[in-house]
Symmetry: C2
Subunit: 235 residues, 2 copies
Protein backbone atom coordinates (compact mmCIF):
# COMPACT_ATOMS: atom_id res chain seq x y z
CA UNK A 1 0.00 0.00 0.00
CA UNK A 2 0.98 3.61 -0.45
CA UNK A 3 2.78 5.52 2.26
CA UNK A 4 -0.29 7.71 2.88
CA UNK A 5 -2.40 4.62 3.59
CA UNK A 6 0.17 3.20 5.99
CA UNK A 7 0.51 6.55 7.71
CA UNK A 8 -3.26 6.75 8.06
CA UNK A 9 -3.50 3.32 9.63
CA UNK A 10 -0.61 3.88 12.03
CA UNK A 11 -1.93 7.31 13.00
CA UNK A 12 -5.26 5.73 13.89
CA UNK A 13 -3.73 2.80 15.79
CA UNK A 14 -1.29 4.86 17.84
CA UNK A 15 -3.63 7.75 18.66
CA UNK A 16 -6.65 5.58 19.51
CA UNK A 17 -7.72 5.93 23.14
CA UNK A 18 -10.20 4.37 25.54
CA UNK A 19 -12.27 7.51 26.10
CA UNK A 20 -14.22 8.22 29.27
CA UNK A 21 -13.78 11.87 30.23
CA UNK A 22 -13.75 13.78 26.97
CA UNK A 23 -17.16 13.01 25.46
CA UNK A 24 -19.34 15.80 24.06
CA UNK A 25 -23.13 15.51 23.90
CA UNK A 26 -23.24 16.44 20.18
CA UNK A 27 -25.27 14.13 17.99
CA UNK A 28 -23.42 11.78 15.60
CA UNK A 29 -24.87 11.62 12.10
CA UNK A 30 -26.24 8.30 10.92
CA UNK A 31 -23.95 8.11 7.92
CA UNK A 32 -20.90 8.12 10.17
CA UNK A 33 -22.44 5.48 12.43
CA UNK A 34 -23.17 3.34 9.38
CA UNK A 35 -19.53 3.64 8.25
CA UNK A 36 -18.11 2.44 11.55
CA UNK A 37 -20.63 -0.41 11.58
CA UNK A 38 -19.49 -1.46 8.09
CA UNK A 39 -15.90 -1.43 9.36
CA UNK A 40 -16.98 -3.75 12.18
CA UNK A 41 -18.92 -6.02 9.82
CA UNK A 42 -15.81 -6.48 7.63
CA UNK A 43 -13.80 -7.95 10.50
CA UNK A 44 -12.42 -11.46 10.08
CA UNK A 45 -14.63 -14.22 11.45
CA UNK A 46 -14.11 -17.93 11.98
CA UNK A 47 -15.67 -19.92 9.14
CA UNK A 48 -16.92 -16.53 7.81
CA UNK A 49 -19.48 -16.93 10.57
CA UNK A 50 -20.15 -13.22 11.16
CA UNK A 51 -21.59 -14.08 14.57
CA UNK A 52 -22.10 -10.47 15.60
CA UNK A 53 -25.10 -8.20 16.11
CA UNK A 54 -24.98 -4.51 16.98
CA UNK A 55 -27.50 -2.87 19.27
CA UNK A 56 -27.23 0.87 18.73
CA UNK A 57 -28.58 2.63 21.81
CA UNK A 58 -29.48 6.29 21.61
CA UNK A 59 -32.36 6.24 24.10
CA UNK A 60 -31.48 8.21 27.23
CA UNK A 61 -33.85 6.08 29.28
CA UNK A 62 -32.11 2.85 28.36
CA UNK A 63 -28.68 4.34 28.90
CA UNK A 64 -29.80 5.42 32.37
CA UNK A 65 -30.76 1.83 33.15
CA UNK A 66 -27.37 0.63 31.92
CA UNK A 67 -25.66 3.29 34.01
CA UNK A 68 -27.36 1.89 37.11
CA UNK A 69 -25.98 -1.55 36.28
CA UNK A 70 -22.54 0.00 35.98
CA UNK A 71 -22.87 1.81 39.33
CA UNK A 72 -23.73 -1.39 41.15
CA UNK A 73 -20.90 -3.39 39.54
CA UNK A 74 -18.42 -0.58 40.06
CA UNK A 75 -19.23 -0.39 43.77
CA UNK A 76 -18.57 -4.13 44.00
CA UNK A 77 -15.34 -3.77 42.02
CA UNK A 78 -14.13 -0.95 44.23
CA UNK A 79 -14.33 -3.25 47.25
CA UNK A 80 -11.82 -5.60 45.64
CA UNK A 81 -8.92 -3.14 45.82
CA UNK A 82 -7.03 -2.19 48.98
CA UNK A 83 -5.69 1.04 50.46
CA UNK A 84 -4.03 3.42 48.02
CA UNK A 85 -5.10 1.33 45.09
CA UNK A 86 -8.78 1.56 46.15
CA UNK A 87 -8.46 5.33 46.52
CA UNK A 88 -6.97 5.64 43.05
CA UNK A 89 -9.61 3.29 41.64
CA UNK A 90 -12.39 5.43 43.04
CA UNK A 91 -10.87 8.56 41.52
CA UNK A 92 -10.93 7.12 37.99
CA UNK A 93 -13.78 7.70 35.57
CA UNK A 94 -14.38 4.35 33.94
CA UNK A 95 -17.35 4.91 31.62
CA UNK A 96 -19.14 7.47 29.49
CA UNK A 97 -22.57 5.82 29.27
CA UNK A 98 -24.58 9.02 29.72
CA UNK A 99 -22.01 11.48 28.39
CA UNK A 100 -21.66 9.78 25.01
CA UNK A 101 -24.81 10.14 22.87
CA UNK A 102 -24.48 6.67 21.33
CA UNK A 103 -23.78 3.35 23.01
CA UNK A 104 -23.28 0.15 21.00
CA UNK A 105 -23.60 -3.33 22.41
CA UNK A 106 -21.78 -5.96 20.33
CA UNK A 107 -23.01 -9.53 20.76
CA UNK A 108 -22.08 -13.02 19.56
CA UNK A 109 -24.64 -15.57 18.37
CA UNK A 110 -22.82 -18.84 18.97
CA UNK A 111 -25.50 -20.90 17.20
CA UNK A 112 -25.64 -18.81 14.03
CA UNK A 113 -24.19 -21.57 11.81
CA UNK A 114 -25.18 -24.63 13.82
CA UNK A 115 -23.01 -26.53 16.25
CA UNK A 116 -20.15 -27.43 13.86
CA UNK A 117 -18.39 -24.37 12.48
CA UNK A 118 -15.34 -24.43 10.21
CA UNK A 119 -12.33 -23.35 12.28
CA UNK A 120 -14.19 -23.54 15.59
CA UNK A 121 -13.95 -27.32 15.90
CA UNK A 122 -10.86 -27.22 18.15
CA UNK A 123 -11.19 -23.73 19.60
CA UNK A 124 -14.72 -22.99 20.77
CA UNK A 125 -13.87 -19.38 21.67
CA UNK A 126 -13.14 -18.45 18.07
CA UNK A 127 -16.62 -17.01 17.45
CA UNK A 128 -16.30 -14.71 20.44
CA UNK A 129 -12.85 -13.67 19.24
CA UNK A 130 -14.33 -12.84 15.82
CA UNK A 131 -16.78 -10.48 17.49
CA UNK A 132 -13.86 -8.85 19.34
CA UNK A 133 -12.13 -8.25 16.00
CA UNK A 134 -15.31 -6.46 14.93
CA UNK A 135 -15.09 -4.29 18.05
CA UNK A 136 -11.51 -3.35 17.24
CA UNK A 137 -12.35 -2.49 13.62
CA UNK A 138 -15.21 -0.30 14.85
CA UNK A 139 -12.95 1.39 17.38
CA UNK A 140 -10.32 2.26 14.78
CA UNK A 141 -12.89 3.50 12.27
CA UNK A 142 -14.40 5.69 14.99
CA UNK A 143 -10.96 7.15 15.74
CA UNK A 144 -10.47 7.94 12.05
CA UNK A 145 -13.85 9.73 12.17
CA UNK A 146 -12.66 11.68 15.25
CA UNK A 147 -15.09 9.83 17.49
CA UNK A 148 -14.06 8.58 20.89
CA UNK A 149 -14.90 5.04 22.01
CA UNK A 150 -14.81 3.66 25.55
CA UNK A 151 -15.29 -0.04 26.33
CA UNK A 152 -17.25 -0.53 29.57
CA UNK A 153 -16.69 -3.99 31.02
CA UNK A 154 -17.76 -3.30 34.60
CA UNK A 155 -21.30 -4.52 34.02
CA UNK A 156 -23.25 -7.58 35.09
CA UNK A 157 -24.04 -9.48 31.88
CA UNK A 158 -27.38 -10.85 33.05
CA UNK A 159 -28.69 -7.44 34.10
CA UNK A 160 -27.54 -5.91 30.83
CA UNK A 161 -29.29 -8.67 28.87
CA UNK A 162 -32.50 -7.94 30.77
CA UNK A 163 -32.40 -4.24 29.96
CA UNK A 164 -31.56 -4.76 26.28
CA UNK A 165 -33.89 -7.81 26.00
CA UNK A 166 -31.09 -9.95 24.62
CA UNK A 167 -32.03 -13.67 24.39
CA UNK A 168 -30.27 -16.18 26.64
CA UNK A 169 -28.40 -17.87 23.80
CA UNK A 170 -26.71 -14.63 22.69
CA UNK A 171 -23.47 -13.58 24.41
CA UNK A 172 -22.58 -9.99 25.14
CA UNK A 173 -19.05 -9.26 23.95
CA UNK A 174 -18.67 -5.51 24.41
CA UNK A 175 -20.55 -2.45 25.58
CA UNK A 176 -19.15 0.67 23.90
CA UNK A 177 -19.74 4.38 24.51
CA UNK A 178 -19.27 6.49 21.37
CA UNK A 179 -19.24 10.21 20.84
CA UNK A 180 -17.46 13.30 19.66
CA UNK A 181 -14.73 14.46 22.03
CA UNK A 182 -13.19 17.68 23.27
CA UNK A 183 -9.77 16.14 22.48
CA UNK A 184 -7.88 12.85 22.51
CA UNK A 185 -5.38 12.33 25.30
CA UNK A 186 -1.77 11.67 24.30
CA UNK A 187 -1.44 8.79 26.75
CA UNK A 188 -3.90 6.18 28.04
CA UNK A 189 -5.70 7.32 31.22
CA UNK A 190 -4.39 4.41 33.30
CA UNK A 191 -0.82 5.26 32.32
CA UNK A 192 -1.35 8.98 32.91
CA UNK A 193 -2.83 8.41 36.38
CA UNK A 194 -0.06 5.93 37.23
CA UNK A 195 -2.28 2.89 37.56
CA UNK A 196 -0.08 0.90 35.18
CA UNK A 197 2.97 1.60 33.00
CA UNK A 198 3.38 0.56 29.40
CA UNK A 199 5.53 -2.56 29.00
CA UNK A 200 8.64 -2.58 26.84
CA UNK A 201 7.68 -4.52 23.73
CA UNK A 202 11.00 -6.35 23.47
CA UNK A 203 10.30 -8.07 26.79
CA UNK A 204 7.11 -9.58 25.35
CA UNK A 205 8.64 -11.01 22.19
CA UNK A 206 10.04 -14.53 22.08
CA UNK A 207 11.91 -16.14 19.22
CA UNK A 208 10.75 -19.56 17.97
CA UNK A 209 9.56 -20.69 21.40
CA UNK A 210 8.61 -19.36 24.83
CA UNK A 211 11.48 -17.73 26.75
CA UNK A 212 14.07 -18.84 24.26
CA UNK A 213 17.31 -16.92 24.60
CA UNK A 214 18.16 -16.97 20.95
CA UNK A 215 19.91 -13.75 20.10
CA UNK A 216 17.85 -12.46 17.22
CA UNK A 217 18.12 -9.33 15.14
CA UNK A 218 14.36 -8.85 15.52
CA UNK A 219 14.83 -7.91 19.18
CA UNK A 220 17.46 -5.35 18.14
CA UNK A 221 15.09 -3.99 15.54
CA UNK A 222 12.31 -3.63 18.12
CA UNK A 223 14.64 -1.68 20.39
CA UNK A 224 15.84 0.49 17.50
CA UNK A 225 12.20 1.27 16.57
CA UNK A 226 11.15 2.30 20.06
CA UNK A 227 10.07 5.72 18.81
CA UNK A 228 7.96 4.31 15.98
CA UNK A 229 4.59 4.72 17.78
CA UNK A 230 5.47 8.26 18.90
CA UNK A 231 5.86 9.39 15.30
CA UNK A 232 2.08 9.09 15.12
CA UNK A 233 1.09 10.15 18.62
CA UNK A 234 2.78 11.57 21.67
CA UNK A 235 2.83 8.25 23.51
Amino acid sequence: MQKSDKDGLYRVIFSRRDVRREFLADEIDNETISKILYAAHYAPSVGFMQPWDFIVIKSREIREQVYKIFQKANAEASEMFDGKRAKLYNSLKLEGILDAPVNICVTCDRDRRGSVVLGRTHQMQMDRYSAVCAVQNLWLAARAEDLGVGWVSILDEKSLKDVLQIPDNIDIIAYLCIGKVSHFQDTPDLQRFKWQDREELEKLVHIDMWNSNIDDELIESIKANKKFPQQYSSN
Copy 2:
Protein backbone atom coordinates in the same frame (compact mmCIF):
# COMPACT_ATOMS: atom_id res chain seq x y z
CA MET B 1 -8.54 13.09 10.97
CA GLN B 2 -7.71 14.03 7.40
CA LYS B 3 -9.41 12.34 4.49
CA SER B 4 -6.16 10.59 3.49
CA ASP B 5 -5.93 8.99 6.95
CA LYS B 6 -9.52 7.81 6.85
CA ASP B 7 -9.06 6.48 3.33
CA GLY B 8 -5.95 4.62 4.44
CA LEU B 9 -7.74 2.99 7.36
CA TYR B 10 -10.81 2.01 5.33
CA ARG B 11 -8.66 0.69 2.48
CA VAL B 12 -6.82 -1.54 4.98
CA ILE B 13 -10.01 -2.72 6.72
CA PHE B 14 -11.95 -3.52 3.56
CA SER B 15 -9.10 -5.15 1.61
CA ARG B 16 -7.77 -7.25 4.52
CA ARG B 17 -8.06 -10.97 3.87
CA ASP B 18 -7.49 -14.22 5.76
CA VAL B 19 -4.67 -15.50 3.54
CA ARG B 20 -3.91 -19.17 2.98
CA ARG B 21 -3.10 -19.77 -0.70
CA GLU B 22 -1.17 -16.72 -1.82
CA PHE B 23 1.90 -16.75 0.43
CA LEU B 24 5.39 -16.29 -1.06
CA ALA B 25 8.48 -17.70 0.62
CA ASP B 26 10.33 -14.34 0.53
CA GLU B 27 11.85 -13.25 3.80
CA ILE B 28 10.20 -10.38 5.74
CA ASP B 29 12.62 -7.77 7.07
CA ASN B 30 12.82 -7.37 10.84
CA GLU B 31 11.93 -3.69 10.76
CA THR B 32 8.56 -4.50 9.21
CA ILE B 33 7.95 -7.25 11.73
CA SER B 34 8.80 -4.86 14.54
CA LYS B 35 6.29 -2.31 13.17
CA ILE B 36 3.41 -4.78 13.09
CA LEU B 37 4.33 -5.91 16.61
CA TYR B 38 4.21 -2.31 17.83
CA ALA B 39 0.78 -1.99 16.24
CA ALA B 40 -0.31 -5.06 18.21
CA HIS B 41 1.25 -3.77 21.42
CA TYR B 42 -0.74 -0.53 21.16
CA ALA B 43 -4.08 -2.35 21.20
CA PRO B 44 -6.51 -1.51 23.99
CA SER B 45 -6.29 -3.74 27.06
CA VAL B 46 -8.44 -4.13 30.12
CA GLY B 47 -6.93 -2.23 33.06
CA PHE B 48 -4.01 -1.44 30.68
CA MET B 49 -3.03 -5.03 31.46
CA GLN B 50 -1.17 -5.72 28.19
CA PRO B 51 -1.56 -9.46 28.84
CA TRP B 52 -0.01 -10.51 25.51
CA ASP B 53 3.24 -12.13 24.45
CA PHE B 54 4.33 -12.74 20.88
CA ILE B 55 6.28 -15.83 19.86
CA VAL B 56 7.79 -15.13 16.45
CA ILE B 57 8.52 -18.43 14.74
CA LYS B 58 10.84 -18.49 11.78
CA SER B 59 12.33 -21.96 12.39
CA ARG B 60 11.26 -24.38 9.66
CA GLU B 61 11.63 -27.30 12.06
CA ILE B 62 9.18 -25.85 14.55
CA ARG B 63 6.71 -24.87 11.84
CA GLU B 64 6.85 -28.47 10.60
CA GLN B 65 5.89 -29.68 14.07
CA VAL B 66 3.00 -27.21 14.17
CA TYR B 67 1.92 -28.33 10.72
CA LYS B 68 1.63 -31.91 12.01
CA ILE B 69 -0.64 -30.68 14.81
CA PHE B 70 -2.78 -28.94 12.20
CA GLN B 71 -2.97 -32.07 10.02
CA LYS B 72 -4.22 -34.19 12.90
CA ALA B 73 -6.82 -31.63 14.01
CA ASN B 74 -7.95 -30.98 10.44
CA ALA B 75 -8.53 -34.69 9.84
CA GLU B 76 -10.68 -34.74 12.97
CA ALA B 77 -12.52 -31.61 11.85
CA SER B 78 -13.18 -33.02 8.39
CA GLU B 79 -15.06 -35.95 9.98
CA MET B 80 -17.52 -33.51 11.53
CA PHE B 81 -19.01 -32.42 8.20
CA ASP B 82 -21.33 -34.49 6.02
CA GLY B 83 -21.67 -35.18 2.30
CA LYS B 84 -21.20 -32.21 0.00
CA ARG B 85 -20.10 -30.05 2.86
CA ALA B 86 -17.32 -32.51 3.78
CA LYS B 87 -16.15 -32.61 0.17
CA LEU B 88 -16.02 -28.82 0.01
CA TYR B 89 -14.28 -28.68 3.41
CA ASN B 90 -11.56 -31.04 2.18
CA SER B 91 -11.00 -28.93 -0.92
CA LEU B 92 -10.28 -25.79 1.10
CA LYS B 93 -6.77 -24.73 2.07
CA LEU B 94 -7.06 -23.60 5.68
CA GLU B 95 -3.50 -22.69 6.69
CA GLY B 96 -0.17 -21.41 5.41
CA ILE B 97 2.09 -22.66 8.20
CA LEU B 98 4.94 -23.79 5.95
CA ASP B 99 4.28 -21.45 3.01
CA ALA B 100 4.51 -18.29 5.09
CA PRO B 101 8.07 -17.61 6.33
CA VAL B 102 6.93 -16.18 9.67
CA ASN B 103 4.36 -17.53 12.12
CA ILE B 104 3.37 -15.58 15.23
CA CYS B 105 1.68 -17.10 18.25
CA VAL B 106 -0.17 -14.54 20.39
CA THR B 107 -0.76 -15.53 24.01
CA CYS B 108 -2.53 -14.17 27.09
CA ASP B 109 -0.98 -14.20 30.57
CA ARG B 110 -4.07 -14.10 32.76
CA ASP B 111 -2.04 -13.65 35.96
CA ARG B 112 0.08 -10.76 34.71
CA ARG B 113 -1.45 -8.23 37.14
CA GLY B 114 -2.62 -10.55 39.89
CA SER B 115 -6.10 -11.92 40.35
CA VAL B 116 -7.98 -8.61 40.61
CA VAL B 117 -7.69 -6.53 37.45
CA LEU B 118 -9.45 -3.22 36.85
CA GLY B 119 -12.27 -3.83 34.36
CA ARG B 120 -12.00 -7.62 34.55
CA THR B 121 -13.85 -7.92 37.85
CA HIS B 122 -17.21 -8.69 36.20
CA GLN B 123 -16.04 -10.03 32.86
CA MET B 124 -13.18 -12.52 33.24
CA GLN B 125 -12.76 -12.90 29.48
CA MET B 126 -11.67 -9.29 29.07
CA ASP B 127 -7.95 -10.12 29.14
CA ARG B 128 -8.36 -12.64 26.33
CA TYR B 129 -10.39 -10.11 24.39
CA SER B 130 -7.58 -7.57 24.83
CA ALA B 131 -5.15 -10.04 23.24
CA VAL B 132 -7.61 -10.47 20.34
CA CYS B 133 -7.59 -6.70 19.82
CA ALA B 134 -3.79 -6.97 19.54
CA VAL B 135 -4.23 -9.66 16.88
CA GLN B 136 -6.55 -7.43 14.87
CA ASN B 137 -4.18 -4.45 15.10
CA LEU B 138 -1.32 -6.67 13.91
CA TRP B 139 -3.43 -8.00 11.05
CA LEU B 140 -4.35 -4.53 9.82
CA ALA B 141 -0.77 -3.26 10.10
CA ALA B 142 0.40 -6.30 8.14
CA ARG B 143 -2.14 -5.52 5.40
CA ALA B 144 -0.89 -1.94 5.23
CA GLU B 145 2.63 -3.37 4.79
CA ASP B 146 1.30 -5.63 1.98
CA LEU B 147 1.77 -8.73 4.11
CA GLY B 148 -0.84 -11.45 4.24
CA VAL B 149 -2.00 -12.91 7.54
CA GLY B 150 -3.92 -16.15 8.09
CA TRP B 151 -5.32 -17.17 11.47
CA VAL B 152 -5.07 -20.94 12.02
CA SER B 153 -7.49 -22.14 14.68
CA ILE B 154 -7.62 -25.83 13.73
CA LEU B 155 -4.95 -26.79 16.25
CA ASP B 156 -4.96 -28.65 19.56
CA GLU B 157 -3.90 -26.10 22.19
CA LYS B 158 -2.10 -28.57 24.43
CA SER B 159 0.01 -29.98 21.59
CA LEU B 160 0.87 -26.47 20.41
CA LYS B 161 1.90 -25.49 23.94
CA ASP B 162 4.22 -28.51 24.08
CA VAL B 163 5.94 -27.62 20.82
CA LEU B 164 6.35 -23.94 21.70
CA GLN B 165 7.14 -24.72 25.37
CA ILE B 166 4.42 -22.39 26.58
CA PRO B 167 3.76 -22.67 30.35
CA ASP B 168 0.46 -24.09 31.58
CA ASN B 169 -0.75 -20.78 32.98
CA ILE B 170 -0.44 -18.97 29.64
CA ASP B 171 -3.35 -19.18 27.16
CA ILE B 172 -2.89 -19.36 23.43
CA ILE B 173 -5.12 -16.82 21.70
CA ALA B 174 -4.06 -16.98 18.06
CA TYR B 175 -1.65 -18.71 15.72
CA LEU B 176 -0.93 -16.53 12.70
CA CYS B 177 0.87 -17.20 9.42
CA ILE B 178 2.47 -14.09 7.93
CA GLY B 179 4.20 -13.48 4.63
CA LYS B 180 4.38 -11.57 1.39
CA VAL B 181 1.72 -12.59 -1.11
CA SER B 182 1.32 -12.99 -4.85
CA HIS B 183 -1.88 -10.92 -4.54
CA PHE B 184 -4.83 -10.27 -2.24
CA GLN B 185 -8.16 -11.81 -3.22
CA ASP B 186 -11.07 -9.42 -3.75
CA THR B 187 -13.43 -11.60 -1.71
CA PRO B 188 -12.92 -13.85 1.32
CA ASP B 189 -12.10 -17.47 0.33
CA LEU B 190 -15.14 -18.90 2.10
CA GLN B 191 -17.42 -16.52 0.22
CA ARG B 192 -15.68 -17.18 -3.11
CA PHE B 193 -15.93 -20.95 -2.69
CA LYS B 194 -19.58 -20.67 -1.63
CA TRP B 195 -19.10 -21.96 1.90
CA GLN B 196 -20.88 -18.96 3.38
CA ASP B 197 -22.33 -15.69 2.04
CA ARG B 198 -21.82 -12.29 3.55
CA GLU B 199 -24.74 -11.12 5.68
CA GLU B 200 -26.57 -7.87 4.99
CA LEU B 201 -25.43 -5.48 7.72
CA GLU B 202 -28.88 -3.93 8.22
CA LYS B 203 -30.19 -7.30 9.41
CA LEU B 204 -27.63 -7.33 12.21
CA VAL B 205 -28.35 -3.87 13.57
CA HIS B 206 -30.93 -3.30 16.29
CA ILE B 207 -32.13 0.02 17.64
CA ASP B 208 -32.11 0.58 21.41
CA MET B 209 -32.80 -3.07 22.21
CA TRP B 210 -32.69 -6.54 20.68
CA ASN B 211 -35.14 -7.07 17.78
CA SER B 212 -36.83 -3.77 18.35
CA ASN B 213 -38.85 -2.70 15.35
CA ILE B 214 -38.30 0.98 15.78
CA ASP B 215 -38.14 2.58 12.37
CA ASP B 216 -34.83 4.39 12.51
CA GLU B 217 -33.01 6.49 9.95
CA LEU B 218 -29.81 4.61 10.82
CA ILE B 219 -31.14 1.49 9.08
CA GLU B 220 -31.92 3.59 6.00
CA SER B 221 -28.43 5.04 6.11
CA ILE B 222 -26.89 1.55 6.30
CA LYS B 223 -28.87 0.50 3.24
CA ALA B 224 -27.93 3.69 1.38
CA ASN B 225 -24.25 3.07 2.17
CA LYS B 226 -24.20 -0.53 0.94
CA LYS B 227 -21.44 0.29 -1.56
CA PHE B 228 -19.22 1.95 1.05
CA PRO B 229 -16.90 -1.05 1.57
CA GLN B 230 -16.57 -1.63 -2.19
CA GLN B 231 -15.15 1.85 -2.67
CA TYR B 232 -12.03 0.48 -0.99
CA SER B 233 -12.02 -3.08 -2.27
CA SER B 234 -13.96 -5.12 -4.81
CA ASN B 235 -16.01 -6.91 -2.19
